[in-house]
Amino acid sequence: MLVLTRKLGESIAIDDHIKIVVVQIKGKQVRIGIKAPKETKIHREEVYAAIHDQNKQAVHEAPTEMGDLSKALKG
């Protein structure tokens, strides 16, 4: 992993189109601004973990008896 040191207000350019700016530093929190083409999808890492968890639950917790599902929804 490439590690760079930046001061408040300084930025990093990725390719020609993506710019990452350190907007604010407050205690243990850093606010980061990202300028990127609207094409670029940007997510907090936690989003991936939440989706993984949800997919896992969707597979493992779902009813195996189709009748139970139908009864709960239509009963």
Binding site: E39, N55, V59, P63, K74
Partner: protein, 184 residues
């Protein structure tokens, strides 16, 4: 080909009907080939069944049933991954969590829908940028109300869902396109 499934026994599908999720389901990158099964239980919930793992099946539902204003914005690279030329040639499904201990707590993942190209069955679980699209959106009440409405109308073919109800695998090309796809 014959597919073994945990919930529906043995089903036979045409190889041209295989749904290809080349990047897999998020968290399960090895699961890349699926078929879509209608259990014909009048719940409108379909099952995305893995072809190689009988126990791996995801309950899915078309979001237009419970969230009319839902929009899926795809990037051009996502469209390219699916060889999707026209947005009107795809369907969208949300993955459901249905806790067997309390079915009323069922929820849909609005953040990461599965998009399927109707022309070639190439498919992708995309992650949407919208912050208000949550991973667990409760749907029990809305789905139940919807089922009651269509039940009382005896008008299942016009309930907004493309699949004609018959137990077994669904022919993808017969699904009605989702009208909720946009480009980023």
């Amino acid at each position: 080909m014959v597919v073994q499934t945990g919930r529906f026994g043995e089903v036979t599908i045409d190889e041209s009907e295989i749904i290809h999720l080349s990047a897999g389901i998020l968290g399960f990158c090895d699961e890349t080939e699926f078929c879509l099964i209608d259990p014909n239980d009048d719940t409108l919930i379909l099952w995305l069944q893995s072809l190689k793992n009988p126990k791996f099946a995801l309950p899915v539902l078309e979001p237009k049933i419970f969230k009319k204003d839902y929009l899926v914005r795809l990037s051009l690279s996502e469209m390219r991954e699916m060889d999707l030329v026209k947005l009107s040639e795809a369907v969208v499904f949300c993955v459901l969590t249905i806790p067997v201990s309390d079915i009323t707590q069922m929820s849909a993942n609005l953040k990461a829908p599965v998009v399927i190209n109707l022309k070639n069955q190439k498919s992708k679980q995309v992650i949407l940028q919208e912050n208000d699209y949550v991973v667990r959106y409760p749907i029990f009440k809305d789905l139940r109300a919807h089922l009651l409405t269509i039940g009382s109308n005896h008008n299942r073919l016009n309930d907004g869902v493309g699949a004609v109800s018959k137990k077994g695998p669904i022919k993808i090309s017969t699904l009605r396109p989702a009208e909720m796809l946009r480009t980023l």
